[in-house]
Symmetry: C2
Subunit: 288 residues, 2 copies
Amino acid sequence: MNRKRFVDSYLKKVFRVIKNYRLVEKKDKIFVAVSGGKDSTAALFSLKKFIEETTIDCELKVFHINFDLPVWKDVEKVIKKQAELAKVETVVIHLKDFGISLEEIAKKVRRPICSCCGVIKRYLMNKIPREMGATKIATGHNMDDFIVFFFKNLLSQKFEWIAKFKPLLPSTHPKMLCKIRPLFEVSRDENEKFCKILKIPFVREDVCPYSYIKYGLDKNREKWYQTIDGIEKWNRNFKISMIRAIEKMSNYFRQPPEEIKTCLKCGEPSSQEVCGFCKILMESKEKI
Amino acid sequence: MNRKRFVDSYLKKVFRVIKNYRLVEKKDKIFVAVSGGKDSTAALFSLKKFIEETTIDCELKVFHINFDLPVWKDVEKVIKKQAELAKVETVVIHLKDFGISLEEIAKKVRRPICSCCGVIKRYLMNKIPREMGATKIATGHNMDDFIVFFFKNLLSQKFEWIAKFKPLLPSTHPKMLCKIRPLFEVSRDENEKFCKILKIPFVREDVCPYSYIKYGLDKNREKWYQTIDGIEKWNRNFKISMIRAIEKMSNYFRQPPEEIKTCLKCGEPSSQEVCGFCKILMESKEKI
């Protein structure tokens, strides 16, 4: 497939998801959570192209969390370059401005650093954009990610998680943003190819010194990605059939809407009395 | 693992399923549907051993459908030998006694022969044992079969089929036998090894001239078996976790009990006015 045809076909797939699931609506203010990697970069540029083509009245912003690890200066540079190319405003927050050092916290609370990072990221990705008037937060999760998550959650019988494998997760609390995943039906390889053809700079997945690839936190994860790529080779359309089946299946696992509490410490939405973010901060202070 | 330890561990797995799901109960009269292959052979002998060890008051019978294809004389011999070894009575029925020639029917109704065979087999496997006083029918479906069926049904979004992936399917109609699958948590390789160690004769899977292996009806099927074997290599316990997850998941897909009709032609249970078996017979006669 030549380059132009690839980009057209790629965007067709992404736009179909955006339209079918109404990911972008009039008056939306969408913050795209970007890491600098190929996936979130592809999410940003395809959302931008969708808005340009449809001329829908919708505002887009790049949202990035700088982890203040040595390499992050370069990551921020790449992201600013991307935002410039996309002609989109950038909001960058620094963990240190919240008094947070990821490495110190992880040491003190004795949890894997990636687990702490996840809690902190999910918290700030909801709170900051919402405070800045966002209506939705977009992420770069791709088809492969969801298929691999599906296997992991299926095997551990966490069916309630599979309920969330959808291109749009509506808000379940006044302070909880709606989440959108425009890349639900494209693969990680397609995202990379899209960025490369359009000559958009992006950072390597393993730029984070704690990347699971380097750190070996989850060796099986990469094996799962290889396995689904392997199946696709002899079973064309496996991935697209799989992601669509997962989306349909997820309806069966919908839970009765659980009561989302408000964290006693910070007032953010939480499934427990005190939210995961505040717990981590408290624990890390207790152990000083 | 030495031979004795393998057999002990194999039987432990099968007995656990038999006990947990109450596959064998007092006063049961269980017909084991055997093809002569390793799986149904293993089902017969492990059920026999369970009954011997627990001394439960339960009758076992071997049930076999002879397809009257040239090779079937040898198949029947092997089955009679197995039944002799297991000291279990044998019920063999011949398709020709029902005025059926599988090859002719398949030609006339223009359906794949394996599809006709499936309809006929399922019909007779329920009707004949029931008329002879059976309370349950046992089959040799193994863990691998269910995992592969799961993928096929997941990809084609036939979730209602996944609802049936359980070690015990209760009767849903007065004329429908309860089905049991004692090998739900053992693999096809384990079944073969079990038969070989116990020196029980069995026939090769592809003894049928229409076997999918020879006939290439479903090339992907064998690929799926290889894929799950491949995953098991780097992800120990994948299959057992998977089959247990499927069993749990199947509960989510349970349909409200559909009204099972009674076939207008033969009076057997059917989902439609006329059952699949009668339809095939009618179609084949119309086209003479």
